[in-house]
């Protein structure tokens, strides 16, 4: 008996569970956890706490010994480990729940030492840089949420080009430093040095807008849960960069 004869003989099933659509619909795992704004913000908070924990360790170590060499090993180690964890997170996003907190911990070691060294030279500079960093973040977050700043493809292209240009300048400066020279404008305390720092701070700050948009759209589109850690990581990278540039700018203004 073929299917046509069977249908004529027994008729169509009246069971509502077996409609024409029963086996044609795609199976979607609705229980899979998705990225949310709340989850991402919590992960940014956890990353900040981890960073402050290790930063306070190197900070206290520096001021208890008053010897830069006591923290230099931890600082360099933290920078290298942070770079490795950052690369691991960028190239393997599914590892972000592990590598992003490790990145925050290792960067904390470096930031604590750097901040302590600046603080020893310029009293009160750290809290000024911290407050300026968070004020910038808050201002841009407000501008983004209210739609004052609307990132589009041109905006992204401009920020990527600016960021790449700064990266290239810093790389050339690093290579030149091996031969005992460097690009003077980076550390110059003259007007051009300050203008350079202001431009770098502006580009670092505008990178925050791209991070906010990535997180907002990820939550809207129901991106995978592990991308909450990736979003928190990208925000941390930008915040750390912004903080260091503000620290450098403030030190130039005080000299």
């Amino acid at each position: 008996m073929n299917s046509k004869q069977a249908l004529q003989t027994f008729g169509r099933s009246g069971n509502p569970m077996f409609s024409d659509k029963t086996f044609s619909e795609k199976i979607v795992d609705v229980r899979a956890e998705r990225m949310t704004l709340q989850g991402t913000v919590n992960k940014v908070g956890i990353s900040l706490i981890l960073l402050i924990l290790t930063a306070s360790y190197t900070w206290n170590l520096y001021f208890s010994t008053n010897d830069p060499s006591s923290v230099s090993g931890l600082m360099i180690g933290g920078m290298i480990a942070g770079f490795v964890f950052a690369l691991a997170t960028i190239f393997k996003r599914t590892w972000a729940p592990i590598t992003a907190p490790l990145y925050a911990l290792s960067k904390g070691l470096a930031l604590g030492g750097i901040s302590a060294m600046y603080e020893a030279q310029f009293d009160g500079i750290t809290i000024q840089a911290v407050s300026l960093t968070f004020a910038t973040m808050f201002g841009l977050l407000f501008a983004y949420k209210t739609g004052i700043i609307k990132p589009d493809e041109n905006f992204r292209l401009m920020i990527f080009a600016g960021t790449f240009a700064i990266f290239a300048v810093y790389m050339v400066n690093l290579i030149m430093s091996f031969f005992g020279t460097g690009i003077s404008i980076i550390n110059s305390t003259g007007p051009w040095g300050i203008v350079f720092s202001l431009v770098v701070v502006a580009i670092a700050a505008l990178n925050l807008v791209l991070d906010f948009d990535y997180i907002e759209q990820g939550a809207e589109q129901g991106a995978p849960k592990y991308l909450e850690w990736y979003g928190a990581f990208s925000l941390m990278v930008t915040l750390i960069w912004l903080y260091l540039e503000i620290l450098r700018l403030l030190s130039k203004l005080r000299r």
Binding site: K26, V28, V30, G147
Partner: protein, 56 residues
């Protein structure tokens, strides 16, 4: 001075926490020229089904 800045940082952190949790305005989200971000691999030959569009 430092105490004032510390209090300001604390206020800004709390304010940022609440602001971050609010969805962006429609002026921001209902634009045609929004950026396209990459959130993972799309499998070849399979339709991408948005979980929010599925009736449970």
């Amino acid at each position: 001075m430092e105490i004032v800045l510390l209090i300001l940082v604390a206020i800004m952190l709390v304010a940022s926490y609440f602001l971050f949790n609010i969805r962006a305005s429609k002026k921001q989200t209902n634009r045609e020229n929004r950026l396209n971000w990459y959130y993972g691999k799309k499998k070849k030959g399979k339709a991408v089904v948005n979980v929010q569009d599925v009736d449970i």
